[in-house]
Amino acid sequence: MIPCTDFVPAYSALFSYLEDKGGREAVEGFWNYLSDNFLTHLAELVKEHGIRGCWLYWSRTLNEEAADFTMELDEDVGEFRLIMHVCPSKARLLEQKHIAPYPGYCRHCDALYRRVLEPLGYQYAIDMSKCDEAACELVVRGPVAGIR
C-alpha cells in the first residue's frame, strides 16, 4: 500500500511521468480528468450552498491535510478567500531532498478548481507567486447569497 501520507510525492511523480510521456498536454489532460471525475463533491457543495460550498469543502480537506491557513467567507459580498500560509503538499515536496518535485506541481490546484468553479458562474483567482515558499492565496467570487 502506498499510504495516503506518501500520496503527494506519488502525485508529483505521476505528473513528471505524464509529462515525459506526452508533454504538458498530457499532464493537463489528466488534471481535467481528475477535476471532472474526482472533484464532484466541491461542485455539489457549491451548487447546494453557493459560495459557502467553498468554505465547507476546504474546511474538511485542509484540516485533514493539516494545512496552515486562514479562510475567510463573506456571503454578503459573495467572496471566499483562502490564504495558504504553508501548503502541506508543497511543503512536503520541498522537504524531500532525495526526489525532484514536478516543477509545475502547484499549477494543478489552479487547473482543478478553476474547472469546477468557473462553469458554475464563479470568478476564480489564485496568486501563486510564493509557491516556492509553499504559500499561495486563492479568491473565489460569486453571486451573493440568495441570488444564485
Binding site: C4, A10, L18, E65, A66, M71
Partner: protein, 155 residues
C-alpha cells in the same frame, strides 16, 4: 452569520487525508486508459524506487526487518490490521483489509482495475537492488485483503 474566518495551524490537526487514495486510484485508472497497463507499472516502479530509496537502502543493510517495520507503521497509521511472520529469509505480510481500498469503497470512489499494482509493483520495486524478491500471493480487489511475501533471492 454571513462573515466567518477560520485560522488553522499545521499543529492543530493530524496529517491524514484518506481521500488521497481515491486521487491516486484515479491517476492509475487514467494511465491505464491512455497509456496501458505497462505504463501503470512503469510509473509505480519509478516512483517507488525513487521515493523509497532510503527504505531500500535500509532493507539492504538490515534485511527484511526493515520492511516489517515499514508495513507495521503504515498500516497502523491508517487503522489497517496486519499479521507478519518474519524469519531471516522470508517475511509474510497478511493484510486483513487494505485501508486504501476500504476508504474508497466506503466513500464511493472508483477503485482502479490495476490498483493491486500498488502492492505487486511497489513491493517488487522495494526489493530492487536488495537480496530479496516480492510476491503477491493473494489479493481481493473488493477489500484489498492480501498476502504478500518477501523472500531471499536464490543465488
Amino acid at each position: 452569520m454571513t462573515k466567518q474566518t477560520m485560522r488553522c495551524r499545521a499543529s492543530d490537526n493530524d496529517y491524514m487525508h484518506k481521500d488521497f487514495h481515491g486521487a491516486l486510484s484515479a491517476g492509475i485508472e487514467y494511465l491505464d486508459r491512455h497509456y496501458g497497463a505497462e505504463a501503470v507499472r512503469e510509473y509505480l516502479r519509478g516512483f517507488a524506487v525513487s521515493f523509497y530509496a532510503p527504505l531500500i537502502t535500509d532493507i539492504t543493510k538490515r534485511g527484511l526487518v526493515a520492511l516489517k517495520e515499514h508495513f507495521e507503521a503504515i498500516y497502523a497509521r491508517e487503522g489497517g490490521r496486519i499479521r507478519t511472520v518474519l524469519t531471516e529469509d522470508e517475511l509474510i505480510v497478511e493484510v486483513e483489509a487494505c485501508p486504501a481500498v476500504m476508504h474508497m469503497r466506503n466513500h464511493g470512489y472508483a477503485v482502479a482495475e490495476l490498483f493491486s499494482e500498488t502492492e505487486r509493483t511497489v513491493n517488487a520495486a522495494l526489493c530492487q537492488g536488495t537480496p530479496f524478491e516480492a510476491e503477491l500471493i493473494e489479493y481481493d480487489p473488493l477489500t484489498g485483503r492480501s498476502i504478500q511475501r518477501f523472500y531471499r533471492r536464490a543465488s
